[in-house]
């Protein structure tokens, strides 16, 4: 019997001790990688930025700013049509911050200057969008994981100031990069590793951030000096728009491989309508504006029935007569594999036109204005000749010299109206958020109708959306400290 016992004890001891160390070492994840490279992170992050800019989270702005209407074939979307928003209605917050975390990881995980510079530029791009959506947002304490679980909010204006510094630092990183510095190459799905284009993009972003604050007169001198310090780098033009294309495919696999704007308003791989194609249709204001003054863009920005855009007013509940309601057209939705726009040539040129007008940069505002219109026409699949015919009309031409109607010189306001109104037309649908920003900064176009949905009765256009529900749940005290947001009166610091 002693024998039995000793055998059992021996087995017991053996089983318990011999393989224990390796046996329990199972922390290695066989399902998801735990390492990455700056290249893989950069491709992923740039693609996600394109998704944010072109995806569904800005579709409400496309409706409010006059491009699209809620489909009359659907139950009314009350939040959208009567501006009855709660914090739960819109979230333009989560995806930018998650995107920022990826750029931040590139910045902190590599010493390669080109990668760091791109990360810094895109961090500025994302934070600008966050400020434009929400004004004060977490910045200095953000993106630190469990180290700061409840980041406090920074003043929007102060964030803008720091973004300009960060862009300058990024420019310096590229300019000072040694010849041996790694080039991001094909992992840079925006410029294919062309760092000169990144310098121009950074410089144009700087210009956008500076001009956005034009209503903050106390900052003007400093902003002007800051812009001129790097103006020699040049800006984006018709040749080098900021667009992303990782090799988009007409495929629904892996969460959707189509270009994000197509995935937003277009069709699935098999030709079925995406949600926003079914739920949104042409807005009568947009259809009219884009056909006024012989503008040929209306019929390419929207689909047509027998050559006619079938549209409904924003808030209308009965189907429009004449055919199947129009949706975003071939000028905007070129193909499932089209480039995704981060910043279009037209937008960059209109920015330069305005900057030249206001003396931020040297240049001819008229030529830049015409170039902006031309870029928009080309972008929509039209010709430069059509553009020229369009901007040569007296009603469209850049208002310079004497106004033949009033016989007084054109005012700065006239010029601004022309630039921003044309910019609104150029940004049709794909640039809804930027058009909404410029509307709030300048008040142009000044004839966008509000919702006619029964009982909507808004006092004015929405000035901003509320902070998202997730923040009230996870960072309650800090968001509460920002006070109550009124969607008709609370303004972004740069707004008119």
């Amino acid at each position: 019997m002693k024998k039995y016992i000793s055998i059992i004890f021996a087995t017991l001891t053996l089983a318990g001790s011999s393989c224990k160390k390796d046996f329990l070492e199972l922390s290695k994840n066989p399902n998801v990688p735990t390492v990455t490279t700056p290249q893989l992170l950069l491709s992923g992050a740039l693609k996600s930025t394109a998704d944010i800019v072109n995806g569904g989270s800005y579709v409400q702005y496309a409706a409010w700013i006059g491009y699209l209407s809620w489909s009359t074939g659907y139950q009314p979307n009350i939040a959208l049509l009567s501006y009855q928003m709660t914090s739960a209605t819109y979230d333009c917050w989560t995806n930018p911050y998650l995107n920022l975390a990826n750029y931040n990881t590139i910045l902190n995980s590599t010493t390669e200057p080109n990668f760091q510079a791109i990360a810094k530029i895109m961090i500025a791009f994302d934070f600008e969008a966050l400020v434009d959506n929400y004004n004060n947002v977490p910045y200095t304490q953000a993106l630190q994981g469990t180290k700061v679980l409840n980041p406090t909010y920074d003043n929007g204006s102060a964030i803008y100031d720091d973004l300009l510094k960060q862009i300058d630092a990024a420019i310096a990183l590229i300019q000072n990069a040694p010849a041996s510095a790694a080039n991001p190459g094909s992992s840079d799905i925006m410029y294919g590793g062309n760092m000169n284009n990144w310098l121009k993009f950074a410089n144009t972003l700087k210009l956008r951030i500076a001009l956005r604050q034009i209503n903050v007169s106390a900052k003007s001198a400093a902003l002007m000096a800051d812009v001129s310090a790097t103006s020699a780098l040049g800006y984006l033009d018709a040749t080098n728009p900021a667009t992303v294309n990782p090799g988009y495919l007409n495929s629904d696999a892996d969460g959707g491989q189509e270009s994000p704007l197509w995935r937003n308003y277009g069709t699935t791989q098999n030709g079925g309508a995406q949600t926003n194609k079914a739920e949104y249709q042409a807005n009568t204001y947009g259809a009219n504006s884009l056909s006024a003054n012989n503008d040929p863009r209306s019929v390419v920005v929207y689909t047509t029935t027998g050559g006619v855009v079938i549209s409904s007013a924003f808030g209308q509940t009965t189907p429009p007569a004449g055919g199947t309601p129009s949706t975003p057209g071939p000028g905007v939705l070129k193909s499932p594999t089209m480039n995704a726009t981060i910043m279009s040539s037209a937008e960059a040129l209109f920015l330069q036109s305005e900057a030249a007008k206001d003396g931020y940069i040297t240049g001819d505002p008229v030529a830049l204005y015409n170039a902006g219109i031309t870029a928009s026409f080309l972008d929509d699949g039209l010709t430069a000749a059509q553009a020229q015919a369009y901007y040569s009309q007296a009603a469209i031409a850049y208002p310079t010299g004497i106004n033949p109607v009033t016989t007084l010189p054109y005012t700065d306001a006239d010029m601004e109206q022309a630039i921003i109104t044309q910019k609104w037309k150029a940004l049709a649908i794909y640039g809804a958020f930027e058009a909404f920003n410029e509307y709030r900064r300048t008040g142009y176009p000044n004839d966008i109708p509000l919702s006619i949905y029964p009982g909507a009765n808004p006092p004015n256009q929405v000035t901003r959306i509320p902070y998202p529900a997730v923040e009230y749940k996870t960072n309650a005290a800090n968001v509460a400290a920002q006070g109550t947001v009124n969607v008709f009166t609370s303004k972004i610091f740069w707004a008119k």
Binding site: Y4, G16, K20, S27, S186, N250
Partner: protein
């Protein structure tokens, strides 16, 4: 009970040998006094010697005895009886021992058998008869209402519905709250209960608390169901049992729908009068039911065919609601065979069961085949036990291309749904179906299928050495594993050019759209998705285990027992357990099949979707258990266990936790109480225990990078940070439980009462906390938060009339639990943790509130709770804050059982009551949006004064609330019921979760006395039975079964959606014959 005792006895009598002088032979039969039935396994000894035998299955014995001898008959649970052996035949009747409650042997943790009096904790033993009385297809349903503290919820109907079972409520805010399922000594996945043949089960022992189950270690914090399967017989005569059970299943309670109003969904003129705003004409192609009142006139349905043909139907609801008529009566048939044989040293048992089932959903079917073989052999000091089972099931179910209920809710009641069964016929096909916004449910049913197969193997071997009276050693090896295979397909949908051109414009003047036109292309290709998984044979992997995992386990247990100084009985158990859980899956699919009706992912357009994963968890544990008994009335038991778990970092991997339990039999200890007939048994018990629990998915320590959506694009890969920030410093959760209780027997044990109080604190909860996205992550995993569960459990059994004394027997049983829970703390600024998000509602863990708490949107109310309406529109307004609506898990659970027997007829009933909780009917939201719920017609679709509403006649700062008696809502139709504050308030759809159910009814006819004469039939019985025959709900709940839930995970409890089928009742008959 006898069978259980028999099994134990076989073991005990092995030591007896027969050595005696040849004298004379005595035979006899031992029967039980109370029912007159023979008792197998009774020990018969000649007084003063070691000479003895035991009775066989027929209760008979044969023994050679000296000329003058006295026989001693003993059997656990019965009074020992002495009888002089005069003559050749000695027949004896045994009576139940007065102290039987304490003598009952209970299989506790690790298969350790203890007498009930030694236990310091609450446990309930359920016998096979109770479990299978009404032949549930999942044996767990047979436990419903039978034990205090146990809550069993069938969360949906269907072919093979999910069942959730918890003991003492939910301890863990997230993760697994299922009671641990232990099959023949080894834990298995809770999903595997469905693979266990109900007829296999010898007994289920329910260990309510962590204390009882402490020896099972870190998995036992939720209590345990310890299942023992049948082992064969020791009587020497083989028995064969055949049983057939046939049951029907039909809808018992359909949601309350309105039948007065037909089709309309907000269209303007010509359906609406432009001046008055009245709806004048039903909209033939509309899915919503906000139209004019029915008038019986023949009315156009849907769009015309291309040749201009219209279909017409009377504008009224037919006698049988077509939505209800969509469902059928399902049936199930079970055929079951078992064979049991054996003698004192060997046993063999075989069972097989076949189930064939159809559902209330047409076309759906299910079958299951199960087999188990068990055997044992004893040779000298060595005993071997082995058991193996195999189960296969096949499911052919609806592929869920649109929830059926949702599709039916979006079918106005006048639509002649039964005409659309031929789905390729005009007006039924996708191009010309009446509904411009939905597809024919018959089309979906026939063309969207989910076919799956599950194969489950379970086997174990146990070897025991008993080299000395004071020592034995056991080695056990067990494996449970299964595969699950599924293919879900949806046929290609083709639209005609006519449908794509939007025929509503031709027929009704404006482009209202069609399904085809909304889709926008002529072909919507077919879809396929395939899933093959290895694990427990179920479809989902609960990544933290044990759900979804296969398991291989080895146990080694040394058991020392000795009695010192006659009074101190000691037992020391030392053990080691090593287990591994493993699961993997491979999946693929596409939404763009190349060829119509050819479902192979190889033939597609574009790129397939693919996935794979594999998961391994390992644990090594050491444990010890020392128990001391003093003079049969004082018992103390202490355990200590150390677990080492692979999911934690090396520094936190090893953790210890103890338990101590005691019981005191005052009826034994106090001389004055001994032999007292009024209080025949009395025990006080107390227990304190800790159980560590690794409530964590494997690989949760190191941060990961996931493929960015859309990637790869050719040679371009893209990765992004996981949105969950992992945490390398995670530690186990710790549940501490204090338990007190008493077990009392009155009047010779005919009335038994058991009362238990418990208080459990679960600390260090491993919670995926939602973080502000501004941190860069959406979630992180932290050890935070503490919950408290307290409660009372009562159990009362009463043998009111003993059948032995009269031809009428009456047994009553009741069990009652109060389960309270509270979240004591979460983390930092986080005082609430969302668990599930729904339309207008969330389920959350909130500090200071019971767990799980339901929060809903609401309308503005005055301090008295009356709804504040706008003084001009009469409409309520939305409250911007979510309000607390109640807890979703029941607080009060009452189970009642009655058994009345008269001669050969026995009627058994089980009822259950649950209360103290609320449910959120998300399916009522969609039915109200569709305008079919009875709720949506409560105001007769007219403007009405909102009941019990008030108007603020003061100022915003100093409100004065005056009852509203004059201001009607500005709209009583679509704009009130399908939009606006009242519609958008989750509170509108919250109802009490209370119910009474007649869970089981079984009327059995014991035919044995008539068939006994035939040589080969030993027993026969026939029964009518039913499950869930009746349900009583509060009037406010006219919707569905409060038990139903979106899934069996924590956050979904108490929330139902259109994915749940209507409640059903099951009824049928059963025939059992034993040869």
């Amino acid at each position: 009970m006898k069978k259980l005792l028999l099994g134990i006895l076989c073991f005990l009598v092995l030591c007896f040998t027969q050595v005696l002088a040849q004298n004379r032979t005595v035979t006899g039969t031992v029967t039980a006094k109370e029912d007159g039935l023979p008792i197998p396994g009774v020990t018969v000894k000649v007084k003063g010697t070691n000479v003895g035998t035991q009775t066989n299955t027929a209760g008979k014995f044969t023994l050679t005895v000296p000329q003058t001898a006295t026989l001693v008959f003993s059997f656990i649970g019965y009074e020992t009886k002495e009888q002089p052996a005069t003559g050749a035949v000695v027949n004896v009747t045994l009576t139940l021992a007065s102290s039987q409650l304490g003598e009952v042997v209970v299989t506790g943790a690790l298969g350790v058998k203890r007498q009930a009096k030694e236990l310091g904790y609450a446990a309930t033993n359920i016998t096979a008869a109770t479990l299978t009385e009404t032949h549930p297809t999942n044996f767990v349903n047979g436990l419903t209402g039978q034990a205090p503290g146990l809550v069993i919820s069938t969360v949906n109907n269907g072919l093979n519905p999910d069942v959730r079972f918890t003991l003492r409520g939910n301890r863990h805010i997230t993760g697994n709250n299922f009671a641990l399922v232990v099959l023949n000594g080894v834990p298995v996945s809770p999903s595997e209960v469905n693979s266990i043949n109900p007829d296999d089960i010898e007994s289920v022992n329910i260990l309510n608390g962590a204390g009882a189950a402490a020896l099972y270690g870190s998995e036992a914090s939720n209590g345990a169901l310890v299942i023992t399967t049948k082992k064969g017989s020791a009587g020497g005569v083989p028995t064969v049992t055949y049983s057939n059970s046939f049951q029907l299943e039909s809808i018992s309670y359909f949601p309350a729908l309105q039948t007065q109003f037909g089709s309309y969904g907000g269209e303007g003129p010509p359906f609406q009068d432009p001046v008055t705003g009245f709806i004048t004409t039903p909209v033939p192609f509309e899915n919503q039911s906000y139209g004019p009142a029915y008038n019986g006139q023949l009315t156009k349905v849907g769009i015309p065919l291309q040749d201009g043909t219209y279909q017409y139907a009377p504008y009224s609801t037919p006698k049988v609601d077509p939505r209800r008529a969509f469902f059928q009566t399902g049936h199930s048939e079970q055929n079951s065979v078992s064979y049991a044989a054996g003698d004192a040293n060997n046993s063999f048992n075989f069972t097989a069961n076949r189930l064939d089932k159809t559902d209330i959903v047409p076309m759906d079917s299910y079958n299951r085949t199960q087999m188990r073989v068990s055997g044992s052999k004893t040779v000298g000091i060595f005993r071997a036990d082995a058991t193996a089972s195999f189960s296969q099931d096949n499911t052919d179910g609806y592929g869920n291309y649109g929830d059926l209920l949702s599709t039916l809710f979006n079918t106005p009641s006048w639509i002649p749904l039964e005409n659309y069964k031929n789905v390729s016929a005009p007006f039924s096909d996708p191009s010309t179906y009446f509904n411009s916004y939905g597809i024919n449910p018959y089309w979906s049913l026939q063309n969207s299928r989910s076919v799956s197969r599950s194969d489950v193997f379970s086997g174990s071997f146990t070897g025991t050495l008993t080299p000395a009276k004071w020592f034995d050693a056991t080695y056990r090896l067990a494996d449970n594993s299964g595969t699950y295979q599924n293919q879900t397909t949806r046929a290609e949908i083709d639209y005609t050019p006519y449908a794509l051109s939007d025929p509503t414009a031709i027929a009704y003047g404006a482009h209202y759209g069609t399904v085809a036109q909304a889709f926008g292309a002529p072909v919507n290709p077919g879809t396929v998705s395939n899933y093959v998984g290895f694990g427990d044979g179920s479809s989902t992997i609960g990544y933290g285990g044990p759900q979804g995992y296969s398991r291989i386990q080895q146990d080694m247990i040394l058991n020392f027992h000795k009695t010192f100084f006659n009074d101190f009985k000691t037992n020391l158990l030392l053990g080691n357990t090593i287990w591994q859980e493993y699961a993997n899956f491979v999946s693929n699919g596409t939404n763009n099949l190349l060829i119509k009706n050819f479902y192979n992912v190889n033939y597609l357009l574009g790129v397939p979707n693919v996935g794979q994963g594999n998961y391994t968890i390992r644990q090594i544990a050491y444990f010890g258990d020392l128990s001391l008994g003093y003079k049969d009335y004082l018992f103390v038991d202490g355990t200590l266990r150390n677990d080492n778990d692979s999911r934690l970092a090396a520094a936190n991997r090893s953790f210890w936790y103890p338990s101590v339990k005691g019981s005191f039999l005052f009826t034994q200890a106090i001389d004055a109480l001994k032999g007292n007939k009024t209080i025949s048994y009395g025990k006080l018990r107390a227990s304190y225990s800790q159980v560590g629990d690794v409530n964590l998915n494997p690989y949760s320590l190191i941060n990961t990078y996931t493929a960015t959506s859309g990637f790869p694009y050719g040679n371009n890969g893209g990765l992004g940070l996981s949105t969950t920030l992992n945490n390398a410093g995670l530690k186990p959760e710790l549940s501490s439980e204090v338990e007190f209780g008493t077990d009392l027997g009155f009047f010779d044990g005919r009335y038994n009462l058991s009362v238990t109080y418990y208080d459990t604190h679960t600390k260090n909860q491993t919670l995926p906390i939602a973080t502000s996205p501004t941190t860069g992550y959406q979630n992180t995993i932290l050890n935070i938060g503490e919950t408290q569960n307290t409660g009372y459990e009562f159990k009362l059994d009463a043998q009111v009339l003993q059948k032995g004394k009269s031809s009428v027997g009456l047994n009553l049983g009741a069990n009652f639990s109060i389960q309270d829970s509270k979240v004591l703390s979460l983390f930092g600024q986080t005082t609430q943790l969302p668990l599930g998000g729904y339309t207008n509602a969330t389920t959350e863990a909130v500090v200071g509130k019971p767990y799980t708490a339901l929060y809903v949107t609401d309308v503005m109310r005055d301090p008295e709770g009356r709804v504040i309406v706008d003084p001009t529109t009469g409409m309520p307004e939305s409250n911007p804050n979510l309000v607390y609506a109640g807890q979703t898990t029941p607080k009060y659970i009452l189970g009642l059982t009655q058994q009345v027997s008269w001669k050969f007829i026995t009627l058994s009933l089980t009822e259950e009551y649950r209360a103290g909780n609320v449910i959120y009917n998300e399916s009522l939201v969609s039915a109200t949006a569709a305008g079919v719920s009875a709720l949506s017609a409560e105001g007769g679709r007219q403007r009405f004064i909102f009941p019990n509403s008030v108007i603020n006649t003061g100022t915003a700062a100093n409100p004065v609330y005056t009852p509203n008696t004059t201001i009607s809502t500005s709209d009583g139709n679509l704009n009130f019921w399908d939009s606006g504050a009242y519609y958008g308030s989750g509170s509108t759809y919250v109802t009490s979760g209370a119910f009474w159910k007649l869970r089981e009814a079984d009327l059995e006819f014991n035919l044995t006395q008539w068939v006994k004469k035939s040589k080969f039939i030993k027993k026969a019985s026939f029964a009518f039975n039913g499950r869930n025959l009746l349900m009583w709900r509060p009037k406010t709940n006219n919707w569905t079964d409060p038990e139903f839930a979106n899934s069996n995970t924590n956050g979904d409890i108490g929330v139902n959606s259109t994915a749940q089928l209507p409640p059903t009742r099951i009824y049928g008959g059963n025939l059992t014959i034993t040869f």
